[in-house]
């Protein structure tokens, strides 16, 4: 596999992991337990899920920028 194609595959897998962790099943790791009488809804003065969403959004944007700079090309022949 060519280095650029390999990097593209790695970034695609990273994006899928970011989706699985961010808006996906990874939410179970941090979702406040509503059965708890005092669920832990905030950390560092911020709702936990807002931190989680912004964190994974930052990961996704990083992946896009890396793909833009290293994988996506302007040349038509790369199809």
């Amino acid at each position: 596999m060519r280095p650029m194609a390999r990097r593209g595959c790695i970034l695609a897998i990273a994006m899928l992991v970011a989706i699985a962790m961010g808006p996906g099943v990874g939410l179970y790791l941090v979702n406040p337990d509503l059965d708890d009488p005092e669920p832990r809804v905030a950390a560092l003065g911020t709702p936990v899920l807002i931190l989680w969403a912004l964190g994974w959004l930052a990961v996704q944007l990083t992946i896009v920028v890396i793909a833009y700079r290293t994988v996506w090309t302007d040349e038509e022949s790369d199809g």
């Binding site: 406040p32 809804v41 911020t46 899920l49 807002i50 959004l57 896009v64 793909a67 996506w72």
Partner: protein, 526 residues
């Protein structure tokens, strides 16, 4: 209100002016009318794709959903970076094939790959039609709703609604008729800019009004625990549903005809590459900002919640009004006298959201009806000039029909046709998603047969239809509560696609026919 009205009139006049300039620069060919000569640069491509994606639902409905459900709905924005990647990955392949073979509609490309199959063409057109028509009608309704919200006084609400819907339709149809894709894309540049800037200003004003970032976070952290967890207050967003939405909803929005045509219209692969980056960064941040406004609204105007049913605060009246209310409350407060002007511009930005989606869909529908139905089944001998005029006729007829539906729906809340269309709008993206498997096969896999693709789409559309209120099926509610309906349709679609393709290749039946050579009427381009 005078400043808002004056700003709106100036804005509408600018749109008509753009339509006229587009008309002066246009040629009477299909390629020019639908694709602006395939020469759109970075600014127009990036902003027209974003403005088409951002409808009134995004500006008003998504913050309304965050107001209703709390933090859970914030995760919906996390589908957009992947969608941005697909602008490049899907878009650059679609653009290349379109430029080489003269394609104009999605069905041109997909049906051509499958040997010019009429069945495939009709199914692709149907996927597009089921997406586009509800969007057009509901955007016109949104124009009336906005006019009523902003300008109505005691006793004249219905007249203002009708006038707003009529004015929006006339201006939108006017500039689409005059300049085609060129006018639509240029107006999208203005509309997209107004929308995005408006969202960020409203977010800043809301955060400032709540005591800055720390005050905002403190108040939001004090929301009830169910508003700070998934699946949200109304129990609508469990993680697996959010994940399937993030994986497929954005991709489904990109294969609807309005966006697909924008890929054809892009000047080069480089244009789409840069547009994809702009999309991936700007749109998620804008959507996140709009939902933070919704969350702030929840802290400022707590809704009433009884057994998971959320009723908006009396000041807000409806969940979807939360952005408008916060704009009115806090932008003049933040910016003083100048705030009234900014508020007017942002109000125009909300109107722009409805118009930019309506214009793109009207324009795309004209292309689909003309190329995929009229040209293939009604008058195959029609000249290109005739087809361009038929397309304009389609725009006028559909817009008048939509206006009629909206008028009657406003006068009579039980008017069934509009309620049916509203129900279909809810699943429009799920219908559009049924084009994804065939698209992936055409662009990458190249293993499917025409019958497999067509029956797969038919099965997928039928599956999604089972989730509409027209089919009384209790199991549908349980499934749609936990999964994206478009994803469910795609699972059936792919299964049928693969099964029919394999049956065609079974011993004794021979292999599936190879994809046909290009059959487009237009000559290849350099």
């Amino acid at each position: 209100m005078t400043v808002q009205l004056a700003t709106l009139i100036v804005y509408l006049l600018v749109l008509v002016g753009i339509g006229l300039v587009g008309f002066r620069r246009s040629k009477l060919t299909e390629e020019d009318y639908y694709l602006a000569g395939r020469g759109q640069g970075l600014l127009t491509t990036a902003l027209t794709i974003m403005a088409t994606m951002f409808s009134a639902a995004a500006i008003l409905g998504l913050p309304g959903a965050a107001y209703r459900d709390g933090v859970a709905f914030l995760f919906f924005a996390l589908n957009l970076p992947l969608t941005g990647c697909l602008v490049y990955v899907l878009g650059s392949k679609i653009r290349k094939l379109g430029a080489e073979r003269g394609y104009v509609t999605p069905a041109d490309l997909v049906a051509d790959h499958y040997g010019g199959s009429h069945f495939v063409r009709l199914m692709v057109a149907l996927c597009g039609f089921l997406f586009v028509v509800p969007y057009i009608v509901m955007q016109i309704k949104g124009g009336g709703f906005l006019a009523k919200t902003v300008f109505a006084t005691e006793g004249n609400a219905e007249e203002i609604f009708d006038t707003g819907a009529l004015l929006m339709t006339v201006v939108t149809v006017g500039y689409v008729l005059l300049g085609g894709m060129r006018s639509v894309a240029w107006t999208d540049v203005i509309q997209g800019t107004l929308m995005i800037v408006g969202i960020f200003i409203t977010c800043i004003a809301t955060v400032a009004a709540m005591g800055g970032i720390s005050g905002y976070l403190e108040k939001v952290s004090a929301l009830p625990p169910e508003a700070l967890s998934v699946p949200g207050v109304s129990n609508s967003y469990p993680p697996f549903k959010l994940m399937t939405l993030a994986l497929f909803a954005g991709a489904a929005s990109l294969v609807q005809p309005g966006q697909w045509i924008r890929f054809y219209a892009a000047r080069s692969r480089a244009t789409l590459r840069r547009s994809a980056l702009v999309f991936s960064v700007v749109l998620p941040l804008a959507l996140m900002a709009s939902m933070l406004v919704g969350l702030g609204g929840r802290a400022l105007y707590p809704p009433e919640v009884v057994n998971g049913e959320v009723t908006a605060h009396a000041v807000i009246e409806k969940n979807d009004r939360v952005v408008l209310q916060l704009m009115e409350d806090h932008i003049p407060e933040l910016l003083g006298g100048f705030g009234v002007v900014v508020l007017s511009l942002i109000t125009v930005g909300v109107v722009a959201a409805t118009m930019s989606t309506a214009d793109s869909n009207l324009h795309a529908l004209a292309a689909v009806v003309t190329r995929d139905v009229y040209d293939r089944f009604v008058r195959p001998q029609a000249s290109e000039r005739e087809r361009a005029w038929v397309g304009r006729g389609v725009i006028v007829v559909v817009a008048l029909l939509a206006l009629w539906l909206v008028h009657h729906g406003n006068a009579d809340p039980d008017f069934k046709p509009l309620k049916m269309i509203a129900d279909l709008m809810f699943l429009a993206i799920a219908f559009s998603a049924q084009l994804l498997p065939a698209t992936v096969d055409v662009l990458w896999l190249k293993r499917g047969s025409a019958a497999g693709a067509a029956w797969g789409m038919a099965a997928g559309l039928a599956t999604v239809f089972c989730f509409t209120p027209f089919v009384a099926w209790d199991g549908g509610k349980d499934i749609s509560r936990n999964l994206d309906v478009g994803f469910v349709g795609m699972v059936v679609n792919v299964a049928v696609f693969a099964a029919v393709t394999l049956l065609r290749r079974a011993p004794g039946r021979g292999p599936a026919p190879p994809p046909a050579p290009p059959s487009s009427r237009q000559p290849p381009q350099a």
